[in-house]
C-alpha cells in the first residue's frame, strides 16, 4: 500500500511539474477540453498555491457574455474556492460614471473596449497590470496586445485582451434571390428598403459609411458620412442595440440584411436559418475587449488570477466551442480549433481587412455621437 501511495505521489508531482507553466505545458486545471484541442493552460497553479477561500471578486462585464457561463465564473469559483459576482455593464460611459461615484470601491476587474481604456485611466479608475503574472500573455493575439490604446505614457499595460470579433455583414440567403452580396454598399440597394437591421453604435455606423464613401474610416469627412447615412435610412427597418432586439427582428422575417455579431448568426444557422455572415470587400469592423484592473481593488491577487484564467487555455477553448461561440484572443488556442469550430466563428476565411474600434479624443467622440444622434432624429 505504501509503495502504491508513494508511486501515486511521485506521478502526481511529475504531472504537476510537467503542467507547470503555460509556455511550456499547462496548469493542471482539471476542467479539461472536451475537444481535446488545447492544453489546459495557466491559472490552476496559482489556484493551488493561493488560498482565496471566502473571498469575493466583483467583475464588471456585459451580461450573458462568456464569463458568466458555467465554464467561466463557476469554473473559476471551483478552482479558487472563491465567489465571483458580476456588475452588469449597460454602457461604458455609464459604468465610468458609476465607478467615479463610488462603485469603484466594489469592482475589482472591469471589461473595457479600447475606445474607453484611456478615458478610464485618465479618470484614475484603472491601474497598470503586471503582465508577468499572466501566464499566457505571450500567446495573445499580437495585433491587439499592448497596442497604444491600452498603454500608459510610460509603457504600462492597462488592459489584457481576452476576446475579439467582428461586427460584419449578414444576409438571409433565402430572401436575397441569389444576388451577389459582397459590399457594405449593398445595404444601400433600394431592393432592401425597409429590410436592413443596423447596429446602434456610432463607431460602426460612421466607419461603415466612410468605407462605402471610399474614405478613411478613422478620419472621415463627417458631412459626407452623414449624407450617406441619411440615404440609408429608408432601407433601415430597425436600429438594434441588444441581442434580443436583433434576434427578434431577424427571426420574424422583418429584416434580411444588415450588420451583426457572428455569434448571433451562428445561433440562427443552428436554428436552421439559411443565413450568411460575410466580410465586405471594403473591409470589416473589428473589436476586442480587455480586462483591466481597478485601481484600489482590495482583491488584486484574485483579480490577477481572474485575468490569468480568462486568457488561459481552458476558458478560451470553452468560449470558442460553446453554442454561442466567441473568438479567443489566445492564438495558441485558436491554432487548436477544428474546422467546424472555425466555421462557427466565421473564421474559415478570416477578414482580409479589419478596422478596429479605437480610442478617439473627446471632441471627435462628441462629434461622432452627435452625428449619429442627428441621423436617428432626422
Amino acid at each position: 500500500m505504501k509503495i502504491k501511495r508513494i508511486v501515486c505521489l511521485i506521478a502526481a508531482a511529475a504531472m504537476a511539474f510537467s503542467l507547470a507553466a503555460c509556455g511550456g505545458g499547462n496548469g493542471g486545471n482539471s476542467g479539461g477540453n472536451e475537444g481535446g484541442g488545447a492544453d489546459s493552460g495557466s491559472a490552476a497553479d496559482a489556484g493551488e498555491e493561493m488560498d482565496f477561500s471566502g473571498q469575493t471578486l466583483t467583475v464588471a462585464n456585459w451580461s450573458d457574455y462568456a464569463t458568466d457561463q458555467e465554464y467561466g465564473a463557476a469554473a473559476f469559483e471551483e478552482l479558487y474556492n472563491c465567489n465571483v459576482e458580476f456588475y452588469d455593464i449597460t454602457s461604458y460611459p455609464e459604468l465610468l460614471q458609476t465607478m467615479l461615484s463610488g462603485g469603484q470601491s466594489t469592482i475589482d476587474v472591469v471589461n473595457i473596449n479600447p475606445m474607453y481604456i484611456q478615458q478610464y485611466y485618465g479618470e484614475g479608475v484603472i491601474t497598470p497590470i503586471d503582465t508577468s503574472r499572466i501566464s499566457c500573455y505571450d500567446e495573445l493575439r499580437e495585433d491587439i496586445t499592448g497596442i497604444d490604446d491600452v498603454l500608459t505614457p510610460d509603457g504600462g499595460v492597462l488592459g489584457v485582451p481576452w476576446i475579439w470579433g467582428t461586427t460584419s455583414m449578414f444576409y438571409n440567403a433565402d430572401a436575397v434571390d441569389g444576388s451577389e452580396i459582397d459590399s457594405w454598399a449593398d445595404l444601400w440597394d433600394p431592393q432592401y428598403a425597409g429590410k436592413v437591421a443596423f447596429f446602434d453604435d456610432y463607431t460602426n455606423c460612421i466607419m461603415i459609411a466612410a468605407l462605402v464613401n471610399g474614405d478613411d474610416p478613422y478620419d472621415p469627412d463627417l458631412d459626407a458620412v452623414q449624407a450617406k447615412l441619411m440615404e440609408l435610412k429608408p432601407n433601415i427597418r430597425t436600429i438594434w442595440s441588444t441581442y434580443d432586439d436583433f434576434m427578434s427582428a431577424i427571426t420574424s422575417g422583418q429584416v434580411v440584411i444588415g450588420n451583426a455579431w457572428p455569434s448571433n448568426i451562428t445561433e440562427l444557422r443552428n436554428q436552421g436559418m439559411n443565413i450568411e455572415y460575410i466580410y465586405p470587400s471594403e473591409g470589416t469592423i473589428g473589436w476586442a475587449d480587455y480586462f483591466c484592473l481597478v485601481d484600489g481593488s482590495a482583491e488584486t491577487d484574485l483579480a490577477m488570477a481572474w485575468i490569468d484564467f480568462c486568457t488561459g487555455h481552458d476558458f478560451q477553448y470553452a468560449m470558442a466551442t460553446e453554442v454561442q461561440p466567441h473568438t479567443p484572443a489566445n492564438e495558441a488556442v485558436m491554432a487548436t480549433l477544428d474546422d467546424e469550430t472555425l466555421a462557427n466563428l466565421w473564421l474559415t476565411n478570416p477578414p482580409e481587412r479589419m478596422y478596429m474600434s479605437l480610442y478617439m479624443d473627446n471632441d471627435t467622440l462628441q462629434r461622432w455621437i452627435d452625428l449619429w444622434t442627428e441621423v436617428q432624429a432626422s
Binding site: T90, S91, P93, L96, L100, T238, S252, Q254, I369, T373
Partner: protein, 297 residues
C-alpha cells in the same frame, strides 16, 4: 380653555403625521427638481465627489439653436397626446362598465385585472407586445387571414408600434383614475335625470363628465408627462424614425456623458409639459363652468 388645548394637541398630532410625507416630497421631488435646474447650467458632466467645470447658459443656447430638439419635442408631444387621447377613449367605457354595469361583487376582480399590466416589468411588456405585432402572430395572423392586412404587414418598428405599446402600458392608470370617480356618482341622480327626460348624451355631458373631471385630470397627468419622456419604447420598437426627446436625453447620460445638456433638455421638456397641463386644466375648468358649475367630486 381645555377645549382649545385639546385642539392644539390634535393639530400637533396632525402635523407630526404629515411630516413623513412632507419629508418625502422634499427629498424625492423638491430637492431633485432644484438639482435639475442647477445641473442644467453645468458645463459638461456632473460626477459625485468631483468638482464641476463651471456654469454656463450654453446648454440652453445649444438646445434652442438646434433644429433637432424642437422637432423631437414636437414629435414627443404629439405621440404623448395621441396616447393620452386613446387611453381616455378606451378607459372611459371600460371604467364605466366596471363601476356601473357589472355586478358589485365582480368589480374588485375586474379592477385587479385592469391593473395587471401595470404590475408587469416594462421590458417584458414591450417584448411581449412586439411578439404580438409580428407577422404571423396570434394578433396579426387572423387579420391577415381575413384579408384586412397582408401576410407581411406589421406596424412594428414605427411610431404606431410605440403608440400601441405606450397605450397598453398606461391604459390601466387611466381606467383606475376614472373608475375611482365614476364609482362615486350616485345612481339615483342618473335615474332622476332619466326620469326627467334626459338622453344618454345629455346625462353624460351634464352629469357624468363634470363629476369625472378630477379623475380624468389625474389620468392625463399620470400619462401625458411620462409618455412624452419615453425612450425605451421608441428605441426598441420605434425603428429608424422612432426617436423621441427621451432618447436624446438618455444619450446625454449614457453615451455622451454630458449631464449638463441632458438636464437642460429635461428641464425644457418639463416646463413645456407643465405648460401643456396648465392649458388642459384651463380647458377642463372652462368646460366645467360652461356645463354647469364646478362640482367637487
Amino acid at each position: 380653555m381645555e377645549q382649545v388645548s385639546t385642539v392644539k394637541k390634535r393639530d400637533r398630532g396632525t402635523r407630526a403625521l404629515i411630516l413623513p410625507s412632507a419629508a418625502m416630497l422634499l427629498f424625492i421631488s423638491i430637492i431633485p427638481l432644484c438639482l435639475l435646474v442647477l445641473f442644467s447650467f453645468v458645463d459638461g458632466n456632473v460626477t459625485v465627489g468631483r468638482g464641476i467645470d463651471g456654469f454656463t447658459i450654453g446648454n440652453f443656447v445649444r438646445a434652442f439653436s438646434s433644429a433637432m430638439v424642437p422637432k423631437l419635442l414636437g414629435k414627443s408631444f404629439l405621440i404623448s397626446l395621441i396616447v393620452t387621447l386613446i387611453c381616455i377613449g378606451i378607459g372611459y367605457p371600460a371604467a364605466w362598465a366596471i363601476a356601473k354595469v357589472v355586478k358589485p361583487q365582480r368589480r374588485n376582480i375586474l379592477v385587479m385585472m385592469a391593473a395587471v399590466p401595470a404590475l408587469i416589468s416594462q421590458l417584458l411588456l414591450i417584448y411581449t407586445i412586439m411578439k404580438l405585432l409580428q407577422p404571423g402572430s396570434v394578433l396579426m395572423e387572423p387579420l391577415a387571414r381575413l384579408g384586412i392586412i397582408a401576410d407581411t404587414d406589421t406596424i412594428l418598428y414605427s411610431s404606431k408600434a410605440v403608440i400601441f405599446i405606450l397605450v397598453y402600458e398606461y391604459l390601466p392608470y387611466m381606467i383606475l383614475c376614472l373608475y375611482s370617480v365614476l364609482e362615486k356618482i350616485d345612481d339615483r341622480v342618473l335615474e332622476a335625470a332619466r326620469t326627467l327626460g334626459a338622453g344618454n348624451y345629455r346625462i353624460f355631458r351634464d352629469i357624468i363628465l363634470p363629476q369625472s373631471f378630477p379623475g380624468l385630470f389625474s389620468g392625463i397627468l399620470i400619462i401625458f408627462i411620462p409618455a412624452a419622456g419615453s425612450f425605451v419604447e421608441p428605441d426598441i420598437a420605434g425603428g429608424p424614425y422612432g426617436m423621441m426627446i427621451g432618447s436624446l436625453i438618455n444619450t446625454q447620460y449614457n453615451t455622451s456623458l454630458n449631464m449638463g445638456y441632458g438636464a437642460a433638455l429635461s428641464l425644457i421638456l418639463l416646463v413645456l409639459m407643465a405648460l401643456a397641463l396648465l392649458v388642459i386644466n384651463f380647458i377642463m375648468s372652462t368646460a366645467e363652468r360652461k356645463i354647469g358649475g364646478k362640482i367637487n367630486a
